[in-house]
C-alpha cells in the first residue's frame, strides 16, 4: 500500500530543507533611530529581517533602487537577497539612519 507519489514528496522536502539550511536569516534592529549593526555581510539567498523597535515608521531603502522595505512601528519586515554587491541603504523618513549590506554571491 505505498502510494507512488511518496518519493517525489520526500525528495521535495529534503531539497527544501537543504536550501533553508544553507541560507541564513540575519536580524538587524532599528532602535531609537539607529540601525544596528550598521554593517552586515550576507550571501545571496540569505534573508535579512529588520526589526523596528521604534514607535516610528521606518523604511529600509536601497540607494541603488533595488529594494524598499516598509517597517511600520514595532513591526518587522524581511527581504531575500537576490543580487550580490555592496548596497547602501537608509530610512526614507529619517535619512540620518544609514547602513550597508555587503552581499556575497
Amino acid at each position: 500500500m505505498k502510494p507512488r507519489w511518496i518519493i517525489p514528496v520526500v525528495a521535495g522536502l529534503v531539497s527544501g530543507v537543504s536550501i533553508s539550511a544553507l541560507a541564513a536569516t540575519i536580524q538587524i534592529s532599528m532602535d531609537n533611530l539607529e540601525i544596528s549593526p550598521a554593517e552586515v555581510s550576507a550571501k545571496v539567498g540569505d534573508t535579512v529581517e529588520w526589526v523596528n523597535k521604534d514607535a516610528f515608521a521606518h523604511t529600509a531603502t536601497a540607494r541603488n533602487g533595488d529594494w524598499d522595505v516598509m517597517l511600520p512601528p514595532k513591526k518587522s519586515g524581511s527581504l531575500v537577497l537576490k543580487k550580490a554587491g555592496t548596497v547602501e541603504y537608509y530610512c526614507r523618513y529619517h535619512p540620518n539612519m544609514k547602513a550597508t549590506l555587503t552581499i556575497a554571491p
Partner: protein, 173 residues
C-alpha cells in the same frame, strides 16, 4: 531671503521668549504639556500644507511631520497615562498656541510657491526653536527619567526634521 530670515527670527524669539517668560523651571506636567502642544502645532501646520501645496517635496515633508509628530505625541500620552500625570497648561503652551494660530492665519493667505516657501521656512525656524528649547530647557528640567528619555528621542527625530526642512527649503530657492 528677508522673508525667511524674519520668519526664523520671529519663530525663535517667540518660542524662547515664551519659555523664558516662565520664571521657574517647568515641572514635569508642564513639560509634558509644552511638548505635546508643540507637536500638535506642527501637525496642524502640516495638515494645512497638505491641503494647500501641490509640490511633491513639500507634501512628502508634511506627511513625514504628521507621521512622526503623531507617533511622538501618542508615546507622550501613553507615558503620562502610565505615570498618572495630568499635563498642566501653562504660559509657554498658551503662547505657543497663540503664535501658531497667527502663523496658520498668515500662511492661509498665501498660495502656490509663496505658500510652500513660507511654510518650509517656518518649519526650519520652528524646529530650530523647538530643538533648542528641548536641549536647553525641557530636557534639563525634566525629572522623570522616562519623560527625559522621550524628550531626547524627540530631539533626535526633530533634528532630522530640521535638516529635512532645510533641504526642502534649499530646493525651493
Amino acid at each position: 531671503m528677508f522673508v525667511r530670515l524674519s520668519a526664523a527670527i520671529a519663530a525663535v524669539s517667540l518660542l524662547s521668549g515664551a519659555v523664558m517668560a516662565q520664571s521657574a523651571k517647568p515641572s514635569d506636567p508642564q513639560i509634558a504639556h509644552i511638548a505635546y502642544t508643540a507637536g500638535l502645532i506642527d501637525i496642524a501646520a502640516a495638515k494645512q500644507a497638505l491641503g494647500k501645496t501641490s509640490n511633491k517635496d513639500v507634501r512628502s515633508f508634511a506627511e513625514d511631520m504628521v507621521r512622526d509628530h503623531e507617533a511622538v505625541n501618542k508615546q507622550a500620552l501613553d507615558l503620562v497615562k502610565k505615570l498618572n500625570v495630568t499635563p498642566e497648561d501653562n504660559d509657554t503652551s498658551k503662547t505657543l498656541s497663540k503664535n501658531a494660530a497667527a502663523k496658520i492665519a498668515e500662511l492661509d493667505k498665501l498660495s502656490g510657491a509663496a505658500f510652500d516657501k513660507a511654510y518650509v521656512a517656518n518649519e526650519v525656524a520652528y524646529h530650530k526653536a523647538v530643538d533648542s528649547t528641548l536641549e536647553t530647557t525641557l530636557i534639563p528640567s525634566a525629572s522623570n527619567a522616562e519623560l527625559k528619555s522621550l524628550l531626547q528621542t524627540g530631539l533626535k527625530i526633530f533634528q532630522g526634521h530640521e535638516q529635512h526642512a532645510e533641504h526642502v527649503a534649499s530646493m525651493l530657492k
